[in-house]
């Protein structure tokens, strides 16, 4: 197993109040596999992966275990986590408009990752970035490197984010609602791109989404979350055709359809 999460819980303290965002979640992921985490807003999808990577807010407490390649992640120091983040596990975010620093050129932001993890700088790093941008089907890559984020469109920025996250060829890519902020045609392109890159680099992927349509064509297995708990875990096909839990059926029924208004 590449990733094994066991009994992971995240509790936030606000004054005397305690909010249990994630309760006793366990999941596992093999190399090259894609896991979908589905659930409505606030069901703890994102908090689960953030906790695994040590990105929980200061007022949150994480218990349980998350093993990456046999190495325990929970309780690692920030420095040790920094080594893993970006190199072995990478993440892309929901809103490509805000996930790039507006004051830095695309090239600067990308080469920074290489300098951090591989000590690669200068021309070598630039060549690698151009290669990666071409991988995500961005034309005229050398010129893009000199541009600033506000000069690119949303879909283009998400591609840049993807290229950036793949620079160090991570074993696991976490995509936190990667297409939610994009329009439908761009969504399809991005999902298609993610699928082909996953095959090419043999990486595992966690796809967090509230859109069951996104899950359908892209995931091997699906975990359904509600109120911080895993309510159902199944392979994608059986989830869609034979949902076991009432909540899953509700979710499936809630997908808007053109033929049943």
């Amino acid at each position: 197993m590449l990733l094994e999460i066991n009994n992971l819980s995240v509790t936030f303290h606000r004054g005397r109040e305690q909010i249990e965002a994630v309760r006793d979640v366990s999941l596992a992921l093999d190399r090259g596999e894609t896991l979908g985490i589905v659930g409505e807003s606030g069901s703890g999808k994102s908090q689960t992966v953030l906790a695994m990577l040590g990105l929980t807010d200061v007022n949150g407490k994480v218990t349980g275990s998350a093993m990456l390649d046999g190495e325990e992640l929970i309780g690692l120091s920030t420095r040790e986590l920094s080594r893993i983040r970006g190199s072995r596990v990478a993440m892309i975010f929901q809103d490509p408009m805000t996930s790039l620093n507006p004051h830095l050129r695309i090239g600067t932001q990308m080469t920074e990752v290489l300098a951090l993890h591989k000590g690669m700088t200068g021309q070598a790093a630039r060549t690698r970035c151009i290669e990666m941008l071409e991988q995500v089907r961005i034309s005229d890559a050398a010129r893009r490197l000199r541009q600033y984020p506000h000069e690119l469109s949303g879909g283009m920025r998400q591609r840049v984010m993807i290229a950036m996250s793949l620079l160090c060829e991570p074993a696991l890519l976490v995509a936190d609602e990667p297409t939610t902020a994009l329009d439908v045609t761009v969504q399809a392109e991005i999902l298609d791109l993610l699928r082909s890159l996953r095959e090419r680099y043999q990486m595992a992927m966690i796809l967090i989404t509230h859109d069951l349509g996104v899950v359908a064509g892209n995931c091997d297995r699906v975990v359904v979350m509600q109120d911080g708990r895993v309510v159902e875990s199944a392979d994608a096909e059986s989830l869609f055709y034979r949902p076991q839990q009432a909540y899953t059926r509700e979710l499936l029924a809630a997908v808007p359809r053109l033929d049943h208004p």
């Binding site: 990577l53 996930s99 620093n101 990752v113």
Partner: protein, 289 residues
């Protein structure tokens, strides 16, 4: 796509500069301010008189072109032109140095407090609150009593008070910046806290900070004038615009030029800084983009 015209990439700062250039008031202010600074630095050498020499022939003298007392003389027969420019040197120096002091302390303090948040933030901001509660004048008088009167003390006193505002503003901005996804993305790519603050937080604060700085400089000049007015500021024979206005105000019935000239220099400078600040605020406003 391939034959699209080559568009030169522009940073947000270049964008802002383009917009600032179309703001006539701000542009004119920058030109005037640059001229003013040049005059203040070079001017005293153009006059045949020095700021502390007494002209016994021409005490309380009106402005006159013949004897080269262009702006007249004061009650001790000192040349007002030279004194106004020397006062300007001090006023601008106080304004700029004190602002830099408050900028340096305020930005790093506020960024650290906002970035780490939680308990660190609470403790750091309570310290700011406590310092805020200290009465400014009392603090200045205390400094003067302990260390004697020195120009450096004015820099310290004003800088010490102004960084509190700066720290609060920067902390607030940092708190909201921290929620932006590119900060999270930076953490995710393995950047350390120090790198995130230096590379991602501070550059994104600069817009607000620059605007605040241009509005702080005139404020500091005013505070210095206020201190000089109370007799706590610069000491004779050195002078500042505030001190000159104070002297002039006492004799404005008999010798109005003693008030008019330093006051107009002061007013023009303050206007210029305010216009530049306003212009920068508009130019850097993300909503205009």
């Amino acid at each position: 796509m391939d034959n699209a015209p080559e568009i030169k990439p522009r940073s947000l700062w270049q964008d802002a500069w383009q917009r600032l250039r179309h703001n006539k008031a701000a542009l004119a202010s920058m030109v005037i301010l640059a001229l003013l600074m040049a005059v203040v630095c070079i001017g005293p050498f153009l006059s045949p008189y020095s700021g502390d020499a007494i002209d016994w022939e021409y005490i309380w003298g009106e402005p006159s072109l013949q004897n080269q007392h262009w702006l007249g003389t004061d009650s001790l027969g000192r040349d007002v032109f030279v004194r106004v420019l020397q006062g300007g040197q001090i006023s601008l120096l106080v304004g700029i140095v004190s602002t830099l002091v408050s900028l340096l302390i305020g930005v790093s303090y506020g960024a650290v407090a906002g970035y780490f948040g939680g308990r660190v933030d609470s403790i750091m901001m309570r310290i700011v609150d406590i310092l805020y509660a200290l009465p400014f004048l009392f603090f200045v008088i205390l400094l003067m009593v302990f260390f004697g009167r020195h120009l450096l003390l004015i820099f310290v006193a004003i800088g010490m008070v102004n960084w509190l505002d700066m720290a609060r503003i920067v902390r607030g901005q940092t708190l909201s910046l921290k929620r932006r996804e590119f900060i999270e993305a930076a953490w995710m790519s393995g950047a350390s806290d120090e790198q995130v603050i230096k590379r991602h937080i501070i550059p994104n604060l600069m817009g607000v900070v620059v605007v605040y700085v241009t509005l702080t400089i005139p404020q500091v000049i005013l505070v210095e004038s206020f201190l000089s007015f109370l007799g706590l500021g610069v000491q004779e024979p050195a002078t500042s615009w505030g001190a000159l206005v104070n002297e002039g105000a006492q004799e404005m019935d008999t010798a109005p030029w003693l008030l008019i000239f330093p006051a107009s220099f002061l007013a023009v400078t303050l206007f210029c800084f305010n216009f530049i600040g306003d212009g920068l605020r508009d130019a850097l406003d993300p909503k205009d983009r």
